[in-house]
């Protein structure tokens, strides 16, 4: 794996991936989670025209909270779960077709947060991967959302926070399967073993072909046979140029960080406490 990654210094980027357009959480506790997000520096800027969906923003980051119950489906879990990631791509239709040709599953209709048709495929667990190509002159939010006239549409980032990546839990011995998935569909590359960022150096780290974000794949740790471990996206990583400064700014807003053991805040990174039964945020010192 490592050797192959090293032989290909220039990543191939078949879909023209250009970073993360938005991250979507699903929860039935939209207000409580919104309060957590505001502590984390996100501001609610717009509401969906017809659904229980809110757009939060902070600097370059868009974050959608979906508490809509699609007809015939149960309402989302209380615990906020990472339901989708939207990738910026050169051509969304082409990215979608390319993925289907290679064996991706088309996402179920009406599962999406948006009325606007955004093509997407199944990701890990129940999560989805969307493809968005309108992010330069025209934003997808302009169609579906009503912006709050009292709020700034583009609130600045706290301490330079930006998307750094996502952490994905996987079942034992599944790393190779998921590497095939991300490499083949999107052109992700494995970073050499031992190259990690942040305070949770484990699993396998993948770099996006645009080199703008990372994915970390984590199998259950040894001795965790008794722990219920499902596959899914488990947390986002927020990049910060100066982690201690960001930690301090967030603490002043009431964010609590894990402050003992190996994950206590350092120059490298920090991990927040678990909110609402499952949501946690990781800070990572970032060059991005």
């Amino acid at each position: 794996m490592t050797a192959r990654a090293e032989r290909l210094p220039e990543p191939s980027n078949p879909l023209g991936i250009d970073g993360i357009e938005f991250v979507e959480y699903a929860t039935s506790q939209a207000q409580a989670f919104g309060a957590v997000l505001q502590k984390m520096g996100f501001a609610p800027v717009a509401r969906h025209r017809s659904r229980e969906v809110t757009l939060y923003r902070q600097g370059s980051m868009n974050l959608i909270v979906n508490s809509d119950s699609p007809s015939g489906k149960n309402e989302p879990d209380k615990t906020p779960t990472l339901a989708a990631i939207a990738l910026r791509v050169r051509d969304a239709g082409q990215a979608f077709q390319h993925s289907l040709d290679l064996g991706a599953w088309e996402m179920p209709t009406r599962a999406a947060a948006m009325e606007l048709h955004i093509p997407g495929i199944h990701g890990v667990g129940d999560s989805l991967i969307y493809f968005v190509d309108r992010y330069r002159d025209f934003a997808i939010y302009d169609v579906d959302f009503v912006f709050d006239s009292n709020a700034k549409p583009d609130p600045p980032a706290l301490a330079g926070l930006h998307w750094f990546g996502l952490v994905q839990a996987i079942l034992p011995d599944r790393t190779a399967d998921w590497l095939d998935f991300y490499r083949t569909l999107f052109g992700f590359q494995v970073l050499p073993r031992g190259k990690y960022f942040g305070v949770l150096p484990k699993g396998t780290l993948l770099e996006s072909p645009c080199r703008k974000f990372y994915l970390q794949l984590i199998e259950p740790p040894a001795g965790a046979e008794e722990v219920r471990w499902n596959e899914g996206l488990v947390r986002v990583g927020l990049g910060a140029p100066d982690v201690p400064k960001a930690v301090k700014a967030l603490q002043q807003r009431g964010v609590v960080f894990v402050d003992h053991g190996a994950v206590q805040p350092s120059d490298k990174g920090a991990l927040t406490q678990v909110y609402l039964g499952g949501a946690t945020f990781e800070l990572v010192v970032s060059h991005l």
Partner: protein
């Protein structure tokens, strides 16, 4: 054991297999969709049986098609994968195509198997590709291995079926070249005559007249296959792939007892450390 050997409803098969001392079951899609209580009832019966599902079969004629035929087969594959997942099975058996509409171009066959493997990734399913001895383009296990090795996907491997190896009189030497970790399933059976001279004869024998290992006339070769696999480091599951019209009209406990005797026969002739029946606690086992 494999449900295809036994007559009767799914619950009766599960019971007979469990009572004969087996811990695993190989399931066929018809067990599930043909269940009078519907798919969900079949899944519940399997899940409550306490038997581990060795694998789910069978996806046919998937590879080498194009256009509408290919799209149709992708839909079929998705349906099979979803059932496989619902049953808690992590192996889907895919047999080499017999379709006259399929291409013999190995690079396209490889591409289709890569696509099938990709479809299986989110569902935590491994694809076991088997060379049917009457397959149109792929009918020998060294061919299926060549394609699987070139496709180079973590969840794409081989199913080896002793019947097809025996029926074709394939040399066992190439087994040594196969990476044991890429064998996802081994199916064992024998038959009662020395040769199958044509594809038609192989099909007829395979579908109606297989017997359990130890009951047929190629016992030495069956034993040699198991020994060889053991030596190359194979530690996965074995299943009895025994299609037999007589067994499907005999009482289930009687047939299951013959299967149990077959396990004893295998452990007797290949009586070494790592046989599946003696590794009850290891990952593998006899189904």
């Amino acid at each position: 054991m494999d449900t295809i050997t036994l007559a009767g409803p799914l619950e009766a098969k599960l019971k007979a297999v469990r009572e004969a001392g087996f811990t695993q079951i190989m399931l066929n899609a018809t067990d599930i969709v043909g269940h009078p209580g519907g798919e969900a009832a079949a899944v519940a019966a399997v899940r409550s049986s306490g038997l581990r599902v060795t694998g789910f079969q069978v996806l046919r004629d998937f590879e080498g098609l194009s256009g509408t035929l290919h799209a149709y087969k992708v839909d079929v594959a998705k349906g099979m994968l979803e059932m496989c997942h619902a049953l808690g099975s992590t192996v889907l058996l895919a047999c080499s195509t017999v379709s006259p509409h399929s291409t013999h171009d190995f690079s396209l066959i490889k591409k289709d198997l890569q696509k099938l493997a990709m479809l299986a990734v989110p569902l935590n399913i491994r694809i076991a590709y088997e060379a049917l001895s009457w397959g149109r383009h792929v009918n020998l296990f060294p061919q299926s291995w060549e394609i699987v090795a070139e496709a180079d996907r973590a969840n794409l491997g081989l199913c080896l079926d002793s019947f097809h190896i025996l029926a074709h009189g394939t040399e066992l030497e190439p087994l040594e070249d196969i990476d044991a970790h890429k064998i996802f399933l081994v199916q064992l059976s024998d038959f009662l005559w020395q040769e199958t001279r044509s594809a038609e004869e192989r099909i007829e024998t395979a579908r109606h007249s297989r017997v359990f290992p130890g009951e047929g006339v190629h016992s030495d070769k069956v034993a040699a296959i198991v020994r060889q696999l053991d030596e190359t480091g194979y530690r996965g599951d074995y299943s009895f792939e025994v299609f037999n019209d007589d067994y499907r009209q005999l009482p289930l406990p009687m047939v299951a007892e013959r299967a149990r005797r077959s396990v004893k026969w295998i452990t007797g002739v290949v009586s070494r450390r790592s046989l599946p029946a003696r590794r009850a606690t290891a990952a593998g086992g006899a189904g």
